[in-house]
């Protein structure tokens, strides 16, 4: 890449100890997305996402630009309802290496359109 590389296996702090850089590389989110899930659906910001599919009320499928190497990555979701009080629990329905589909539920376990839906994926890329 144009700006060059720093290669290091360990980061060391003067007093707080050291950390293998593999923890940083392996532990960083490899894909994330912040989505306006109400009204006209739109992706607010993202990394490694090619599209989101609005599959119905509170039901969104996001596709990756760089696939994961298998369908065993980790996913965290969060959703906020329009009243600003209900925090959405979400259930990831289906995984594949190229996409993941999630549904957002409110505290009454009813599917709802999240005003702000966010997703982060950790795992190994293909």
């Amino acid at each position: 890449m144009a700006n060059g590389k720093i290669k290091a296996d360990t980061l060391e702090h003067s007093t707080a100890g050291s950390l293998d850089t593999q923890y940083v590389v392996n532990g960083s989110a490899k894909a994330w997305m912040s989505l306006n899930g109400a009204d006209t659906i739109a992706i607010r910001n993202s990394l490694n996402i090619s599209s989101v599919t609005d599959s119905g009320t509170g039901d969104y499928l996001h596709s990756f630009t760089n696939n994961f190497d298998a369908a065993d990555y980790n996913q965290q979701n969060n959703g906020d309802a329009s009243d600003g009080v209900n925090c959405g629990a979400s259930i990831t329905q289906t995984y594949s290496s190229s996409s993941s589909r999630s549904r957002y539920y409110n505290a009454s376990y009813t599917v709802f359109d999240a005003v702000l839906a966010s997703v982060a994926n950790n795992g190994d890329l293909a």
Binding site: I41, A42, S51, D54, T65, D69, S98
Partner: protein, 157 residues
């Protein structure tokens, strides 16, 4: 801005470069499709950062690479991808127009059963529209279907 020579560079590194150097592009296009008669219409929304990569050129792999990976994943003995190098080593595609990018995205992210036969059968299964052709509110969202009476300016769903 000139795209660096990216063939052989990990695709994720290219996406990080693009996020740092390219302005996201919010497309007005939407793809409405139906992949099951029992379900409502689905609406594909392009990602702004992905669209910026498509318009820039020299970043994204050819769509056929994704088809190859999908073939591998569909095999019953699939465990993990062993041909991920196709994403990184295949020559990246040149800059696309927004319309070409939408066609690419359809072939990448919509089910092949939809886009290969989108206008066959009794009813249109897929339509590209502008976002202002979709309902302004999400009332009865789970009942949305592709309109039977399609035209350039009419509502698409």
């Amino acid at each position: 801005m000139q795209t660096p020579e990216f063939q052989g560079t990990h695709l994720f590194d290219r996406l990080c470069w693009a996020k740092e150097n390219l302005e996201g592009h919010q497309s007005d296009y939407r793809v409405v499709y139906e992949d099951s008669v029992d379900e409502c219409a689905k609406i594909l929304v392009p990602d702004p950062n992905w669209m910026a990569c498509a318009l820039q050129g020299g970043i994204l792999p050819p769509v056929e690479v994704y088809w190859e990976l999908a073939k591998d994943e569909a095999k019953p003995d699939f465990v993990k991808h062993t041909r991920g190098h196709l994403l990184h080593n295949t020559k990246p595609i040149e800059a696309m127009t927004e319309e070409q990018a939408i066609e690419y995205l359809i072939m990448k992210d919509c089910p092949a059963s939809v886009w290969r036969t989108y206008n066959k059968g009794n009813k249109q299964k897929m339509v590209i529209c502008r976002k202002d052709q979709l309902p302004a509110t999400r009332e009865w969202r789970n009942a949305w279907k592709i309109s039977d009476d399609l035209s350039i300016n009419a509502k698409a769903a």
